[in-house]
Structures are given as C-alpha cells and as structure tokens.
C-alpha cells in the first residue's frame, strides 16, 4: 500500500474520522455532500493541517503521527495538489506557474522553464505559456494547475473538485484528458468530487464520506448497487428507506410498513426501491398487492421519456412513470395517489 492513513480531526462542527489506503497507481474518488470533510481530508494529507489523532504513512514514511508528534511540513511532503478553483498565481504567467514548484525546490531558472514548457506541451498549452491566469479559460486553468502539480514528480496526487468549476460543454473533454494524465501517473491519487459521473470516469474505487466518516466504499458499481445512505441513494437516483426489519417487513420511524422478499436478518436495515419499480394508481388498487401506500403528489418532474413523480406521505418516494401512464391517472401536485410495488422488486441490506 502506498498511502496508509487514519485521520482523526476535530475542526469546528466537523468530526473527521476516516481510514484510507490507496495503492500506487490507484485512483480513489472521495464522494460526499458539502461539509462532509472532503477538503479537510485532503488538507491533512497535503500537510496543511495536522491530525489530532491517527497517522499518515506514504511509502512507509511517516508524514504525520499524532501520538509521536512527528509531522512533515507541506513543503517537504512532495505531495501534488490541484486545488479547488485551481489557485493559480495571478502575478505569474502560465509557464511561471508551472515552473514555480521547481524554482521553489532550487532548480535553476533555465532548467525549470524547460521542464515547465515540456509539461505545458503535454497538456496542450504551449501556445498559452505567456498568458496570465486571468486570460485562461476554466479548462485551460485546470490543465495548468495539473501540470504545476505534476512537474515536480510528486509521490502522491490530490485533486479537490478538479472539474466543478467547468461548464458542461468543456467538462467532458477536460475529464477525458484528466483521466489520461492520471493513468500515466504512477503514485497514489485521491480525487474529491461530488459528481458520481466524475467518480465513475476517473476513479478505480470510491469512498463515500459523510459527516467526517466513511459511510461506504468499493467500486462505484458496488456502492450504487447497495446504497447505504440517503446521500448515496439520491446520488444514484434510487429510493432508500431506513427502518427496522422484522419477519420480512421493514417498519419505518414514520409508521410505514414495507414488505420485502429478501433474506436479510431482522434488525436495522435499508430497503432500496428503484423509481421504475413503483406503479401509481388514482384509486385504491384492487386485489391485494402487498405494498400499497396512499401518498400525496408533491411534485412532477417531466423529462422527455419519463416523468419523475415526487411523493409525500408516510413514505417519501420518487416514482418514474411514462408520460402515457401519467396521462391515464391524471394527477397534479397535491392530489392523492396510490403507490404500489412488488415485494420482489425491493432489495434490502442490514444497516
């Protein structure tokens, strides 16, 4: 393992407590809502904040150890960081920005400029070498920030929301190029993002950080198949219902009952319902589907092929139906509606 870190830090209302291991050449995405501690986690690894508890080891070297007091300062860590908003130095040209890390480490001016211009070439910005950061587009600034971090041959690379500042049009291209550069980087890489698409495109593995704690980790497919929190469920667009499972029936705190068909043992559990599995009826359905809840239509979100119907009531659900089905039941926000779902369509997992 290249990076092996257990981080404990109390910072304001944030209580960070996470163990992270990243192999050489591996790219790990840190997903999480705002305020979850993603940036703080990166700052700990970069050496800009010391941990209160725990220890950070890179290739066997101790960078930070709360118990022994060992701490390697940021400037001595050789950890490359691409900051949110890129933080290019406005008084320096693109070339001088890239050369900065080499100059700071005592590389001579001519050699630093030569190596910096090689990197500008690699990110396709040779023509922009003399531009000031203000004159660069978002995508170009991101490339300069990446080149600036990589030119010093860091032992580990940390990226904080590297694509968040870009508009949708350029995002795809920049993301593809970023993937290419991450692939050719040999060290451990952590990418902080709040976009599952970025995580999917860039990372081999995903860590979900919520309120300072890791709530889930694995490949993105593993995480989305079994969302363990409301955040992940909303991220991947499924309904996530927390409750207590007893004899196949999940009882929520709000008094709703969800009949399931899985073999999850009794106790605290999560049920996952895909929005496409939910059917909506104007009147109480005949026969006896085992799951039928009377709900209120809270909102309608009409897309081209499908309509997402937000339901309120004892269960807050998102259902996805066809425009034809919507026309048939003819409901508007505020109307009562019955939602049904087959027990076999509901997957469960222990909490």
């Amino acid at each position: 393992m290249s990076l092996n870190a257990s981080l404990g830090l109390q910072l304001g209302s944030l209580d960070l407590d996470a163990h992270i291991a990243v192999a050489d050449g591996e790219v790990v995405a840190v997903l999480g809502p705002n305020g979850a501690g993603k940036t703080t986690l990166l700052r700990c690894l970069a050496g800009l904040v010391a941990v209160d508890r725990g220890r950070i080891e890179l290739d066997g070297d101790v960078l930070d150890d709360a118990s022994s007091g060992a701490f390697v300062a940021a400037e001595a860590r050789h950890v490359g960081v691409v900051f949110q908003d890129y933080l290019l130095f406005a008084h320096l040209s693109a070339l001088e920005n890239v050369a900065f890390g080499l100059r700071a480490r005592g590389v001579g001016k001519a050699e630093a400029r030569g190596r910096a211009s090689d990197w500008l070439d690699r990110v396709g910005l040779t023509a922009h070498a003399r531009y000031r950061p203000q004159a660069l587009s978002g995508g170009q600034a991101q490339r300069v920030a990446l080149a600036r971090a990589l030119v010093t041959q860091p032992r580990m690379l940390l990226l904080d929301e590297p694509l968040a500042a870009l508009d949708v049009g350029t995002r795809g291209d920049v993301r593809r190029d970023l993937r290419k550069h991450l692939d050719s980087f040999g060290g451990a890489t952590l990418v902080v993002t709040h976009d599952p698409v970025d995580a999917y495109a860039l990372a081999d593995r995903v860590i979900v950080l919520e309120a300072g704690h890791i709530s889930q980790q694995g490949t993105l497919a593993e995480v989305t198949a079994q969302p363990r929190s409301r955040y992940v469920a909303e991220l991947v667009g499924v309904n996530l219902i927390a409750g207590t499972l007893r004899a196949g029936v999940l009882q929520t705190d709000d008094g709703a009952a969800v009949v399931t068909a899985g073999d999850t043992p009794d106790g605290a559990a999560l049920a996952v319902i895909r929005p496409q599995s939910i059917s909506l009826y104007r009147n109480a359905p005949e026969g006896s589907p085992r799951n039928a809840w009377q709900c209120t239509v809270a909102d309608l979100d009409q897309r081209s092929e499908r309509v997402r119907v937000l339901l309120g009531g004892p269960l807050r659900l998102v259902a996805e139906i066809t425009p034809a089905a919507l026309a048939a039941i003819d409901v508007r926000p505020g109307d009562e509606v019955w939602a049904t779902v087959k027990a076999s369509e509901i997957s469960t997992s222990a909490r």
Partner: protein, 289 residues
C-alpha cells in the same frame, strides 16, 4: 424615464437619471471647495516664480531637501522592515489582545505629533526610559541627531503602511499560500514570491503614503530632534522657520512640498479618488504635523 418614474420624479431628475442635489448643499460644498483651494492658490500666486531656482539652490535649502529625502527614505525602509511583519501578524495571527496591539501601533496616526515627540523624548531621550541605557552603554544619543529625525518620522509614518498592507493581507486568499507550500516553497520563499507580489498595489500605495507622511513630518521632529541645519533641519522645519525671516523661501519650499503631495495624489489616484472598497485602504486620515 417618465414611464418608470411618473409625476414628481420626472421633474426632479435630469435626463441622465441622476437626482439633482439641493441648492443649499451645492452652496455649502462650494464654500468647502474654496476653503481648500484658496490657500493653495495663495501660495501659487504669491510665489516668487522668477527666483524659484535661486532660492532652491541656496545651500541651506539644498541641505534641507537632501536631509529630508535621506531621512524620509530611511524611515520608509525601516517601516517596511518592521511594518510588514507587523501587518502580517495583525492580519494572520490569532492572539488575544490583537485589537489592543493594533490600536497601540497605529495610535501615532491620531496622536498630535508634538505629543509623539514628547513621548519619544521621555523614552528614547538621553535621560529617557530606554535612552539612558543607550547613552550609558553605547554612548548613543538619538535626540537632536539625524537618527532622531528618522525615529520621529518612522514613529508617525509607519502606521500608514501597516494599515494599508494589513487590509490587503486580509483580502488575500490564504489558500494561495497553501498552494505555494504544497509546491515545495518554504514559508519565507512563499512570502517573497507569492504573498508580497499578490498585494503589490496595496504595498506600493502604503509605501508612498508612508513616505509622504514621513517627508511632511514636523511636530514630532522639531520636538524630538530639534532644528540643526544639516543634521535635523528638514524641509517642513526650515519652511516653518522661514515664515518670519524669509517669506519667499517659505513660499518656495511650500510650493515644493505641494508639488510632491500633488504627485502622490496623482500617483495614487486609483486608490484615493477611486470609489467604494478600493479607496478604503487609503481613505483614513492622519493628524497634521
């Protein structure tokens, strides 16, 4: 316009949409403008333009100009060396009593300069709190020496640099320092290569304000350093003394000082005559000497 502001407003507004100020305000403001303009005009009109060069070239004036430049530039350098770290500490470090420290270090801006001179005399004078040891141990005496002038000017002028730079450091994104450190820059390297260049406009403005204040310093200088031609007789001091004995010389020296102030004002016009927040750092005033 009238569609949006019907009725009364139409009458009150000019075509450009700006409201016309009331007549009384315009009259009072005109008096204020005259109040500032007339004294300057008086000097310009009364100045003996034909003999300007002759007067400036007089040895005692040349001496005073040279001394003033030397002292004010040294005071500005001292303010830079000690004031920049002070501004950095005030902007970045979090310690109890920071407000009190800031008030203490910038008090000389509002203190009557003569009081500053008296305070320096009783602390750094030959029998002063610290001065007595300077004299006893090193034989070093500040009052009535050129170094006394420099100390008096630094005492009065440094706060202008400190407050301007502190304000700029507060606006500076400290994450830029983080970025520079993550690239291998030592704290000192980062300060020189990132922090200072990033606040360059404020730094220059602060230095110019500080220098102008040092150049014009009179009250603390004459109290602490006295009035010895060649060693402590600076331009403002000789100007004051010339009013009775040689009014033409006083006029010409005043003209020279006005020209310098005017150059500073023009040089800093973006900060001084600017609008809103940009003008803030330069908009504080100081007590006249």
């Amino acid at each position: 316009m009238s569609a949006i502001y019907p009725g009364r407003s139409t009458r009150r507004r000019t075509r450009r949409g700006r409201s016309r100020p009331p007549v009384a305000a315009v009259l009072l403001a005109s008096v204020a403008v005259l109040f500032f303009a007339l004294p300057l005009l008086g000097i310009v009109i009364r100045a003996p333009w034909r003999s300007v060069w002759h007067i400036v070239n007089a040895s005692e004036v040349r001496q005073a100009v040279w001394l003033s430049l030397k002292c004010s530039l040294t005071a500005t350098s001292l303010s830079f060396v000690f004031g920049i770290p002070l501004a950095w500490v005030l902007a970045r470090a979090n310690f109890p009593g920071r407000g009190a420290v800031r008030a203490l270090c910038t008090m000389s801006m509002v203190l009557p300069p003569v009081v500053g001179g008296v305070a320096l005399f009783f602390s750094l004078g030959r029998k002063g709190l610290v001065g007595q040891y300077l004299y006893r141990w090193f034989g070093f005496m500040l009052p009535f020496t050129t170094w006394g002038v420099i100390v008096a000017q630094t005492f009065v002028a440094m706060p202008f640099l400190v407050l301007t730079v502190e304000a700029a450091l507060r606006q500076f994104d400290p994450r830029l320092d983080d970025a520079a450190r993550s690239l291998g820059g030592s704290p000192w390297y980062v300060f020189r290569r990132v922090t200072l260049p990033s606040i360059r406009p404020a730094l220059i403005a602060g230095l110019v304000l500080c220098w102008a204040r040092a150049l014009g310093e009179f009250g603390a200088t004459i109290t602490f350093a006295g009035n010895y031609p060649g060693t402590t007789q600076t331009m403002p001091v000789i100007t004051y003394l010339a009013i009775d004995t040689n009014p033409e010389q006083a006029l010409v020296l005043s003209l020279l000082l006005i020209a310098i102030s005017f150059a500073v004002l023009v040089g800093l016009r973006d900060r001084w005559l600017g609008t809103g927040a940009n003008a803030g750092a330069a908009s504080f005033g100081g007590a006249a000497s």
